[in-house]
Amino acid sequence: MENSRERREQEKRKKQKLSGNRQDGIRQKACRRAQLKRKTRNLVITGILFLTALMISMPLILLVSGSLKGTDELKSALGPVLSDMDAMVEFGLFPKYPTLKHWIELLFDKPEYYVVFINSLKIVAGTLLGQMLVGVPSAWAFARFSFPGRRLLFIVYISLMMMPFSVTMLSNYLVLKDLSLLDNLFGIILPGVFSTFPVFIMYRGFCGIPRELLEAAKVDGAGEFQVFFRIGIPLGSAGIGSALVLGFLEYFSLIEQPLAFLKNRSLWPLSLYLPQIGLSDAGFAFAASVMGLIPAVFVFLLGQDYLEKGIIATGMKE
């Protein structure tokens, strides 16, 4: 067996030597063709990837460019949408005569804008602060201790975090009515504080802390609270950061809850105020929209790593 295989290979090699030159040429050509094919494929794929990115960011580009366009330019561009003219919208990507007029109007002439902007920030800040006070210890309890009923309770938490607002709307309303928190920013903040989603994310972060470290600290005489504050919080900060970033993005764009529970317009957050400006005041609408997404984009850029970690943490199975 061995011998025959060796012999065959020797013959092969001989043959190759004979026709070596010609075959080399063919092989090189084939190789070059394959390379070219791979290169064009890569180029096409990269093109698709960037085209997708461009389409995804297009709404943002249109918003910013719209906020810099003059009133007349906007009127003529949006004419077909505003009235029943028989023409199509021609919304150029770049303003012909860029102007900051709408921005100045927004910043100096619209006091009501500040009110809604601050309402939004109040909701976000209150909710996140509460989540830190209440949710961090809860997550720690789930990650650190084993106690009877822990698994069942955790399943309850996960199921709750998955329920859409349709399911919780009525129960939310019943509590808020009993506590007379309807038409009150706390009626939006408090249910958010006790959301179980951040608990789940931070639990993930805490689970990554090596057990030996905590046991070592205990042996050295640290109490549970010291372990929590000195080791748990610093080492679990990635999970806490993820929960904060995800929470900020969620509560800054909250719509369903304020829509249902806030009738008083002076309590409205940005996300209810923006849509009702209307295209007749287009320049202001564009500037207000861009201004409204600046805090969220800012948090996004600062916390993108946390955000990605948080997304991956939501994807892990319990």
Binding site: I45, I48, L49, F50, T52, A53, I56, S57, P59, L60, L62, L63, L78, P80, V81, A87, M88, V89, G135, S138, A141, R144, F145, P148, M162, P164, F165, S166, V167, T168, M169, L170, S171, N172, Y173, L174, V175, L190, P191, V193, F194, T196, V199, F228, L249, F252, S253, I255, A260, L272, L274, A285, S289, G292, L293, V297, F300, E308, I311, G315
Partner: protein
């Protein structure tokens, strides 16, 4: 003798420590967990119990009415429409989103521009729905940007707000918003596959396609499960765009469950709301359990 005493004491303290480790630290558990749990009970669990009770009783007098509310809800045209739309929306969107994002993630994992592109794909997650509603109105108007692009190619202008095409407003909004999120999850899955297996297959002569279908795809099954669940949950949030673009009474092809709940809420139809909330919660739990069971079986 002294030595012996010392070691005995040491032994006892070890024993005591062991007992300490084994007992449940009720005090600490209580201190850490109680504030949060009390809030969850107060704001969610107890009122939801009340909702369950209400779903079995009449709205005004609170008398026991059995399954009457459920029968009313299940025969309600608006509920059936909303449920049908929600299911249809998920049937179209989930496969579309999952396949497209897998393609993007796989190509991204080999691309030089991964970091930049990842950020751009994720950007919509940061943008509040209310801030882009202007653009959505411009895009989907009868004389809007999409039709302006479409018409020169010989298409007829589509009336996105007044016809069944309204459904596509939902699909586009949803994919736009969730693409980056899903790409990140796929990427994490792909990056988790050890390069060693792929290299070994390459050495054995496996081409790109074989590597993808035989190694990468099978290894991504757990990721597929989580992505399906999360995309399913996120699909309820598309209500925001639908509401902002088309208001409380949109074209019937984009009438979603949340629209219906809002309208019942305004009419104070508490009994219907209660029954429908319990039904929805039940369906969601069953769906998630089925997915989990399927996944566990494949995993074993």
């Amino acid at each position: 003798m002294k030595e012996l005493m010392k070691s005995l004491i040491g032994f006892r303290s070890i024993l005591r420590n062991k007992r300490k480790l084994n007992r449940t630290p009720w005090k600490e558990v209580f201190l850490f967990l109680f504030p949060g749990f009390a809030g969850v009970c107060l704001f969610v669990l107890v009122p939801f119990g009340d909702v369950i009770r209400r779903s079995f009783s009449t709205a005004v007098t609170g008398e026991w009415s059995g399954l009457y509310n459920y029968r009313v809800v299940l025969n309600n045209q608006a509920f059936l429409l909303a449920a049908k739309n929600t299911l249809r929306f998920m049937g179209v969107c989930l496969p579309l989103l999952i396949a497209f994002s897998l393609f993007l993630a796989y190509e991204l994992s080999k691309s030089r521009y991964m970091k930049l592109l990842k950020s751009l794909y994720l950007l919509p997650m940061a943008i509040p729905a209310a801030a882009v509603v202007l653009v959505w109105k411009l895009l989907f108007d009868r004389q809007g940007i999409l039709n302006a692009i479409w018409e020169p190619f010989g298409g007829t202008a589509v009336d996105y707000m007044g016809t069944n095409a309204a459904f596509w407003v939902l699909v586009i909004s949803y994919v736009w918003k969730n693409l980056g999120y899903t790409v990140i999850l796929w990427l994490a899955g792909i990056m988790g596959i050890s390069q060693g297996i792929i290299d070994a297959a390459r050495v054995d002569g496996a081409g790109e396609q074989i590597c993808f279908f035989r190694i990468i795809l099978p290894n991504l099954k757990p990721t597929l499960y989580t992505i399906t669940v999360l995309s399913f949950l996120n699909s309820f949030k598309v209500f925001r765009e639908a509401y902002l673009v088309a208001g409380a009474y949109p074209h019937e092809s984009m009438y979603l469950l949340q629209h219906l709940f809002n309208n019942w809420f305004l009419n104070l139809d508490m009994d219907k709301m209660a029954a429908a909330a319990v039904l929805t919660a039940g369906v969601m739990l069953v769906f998630i359990l089925i997915l989990q069971a399927l996944w566990d079986r494949k995993d074993a």
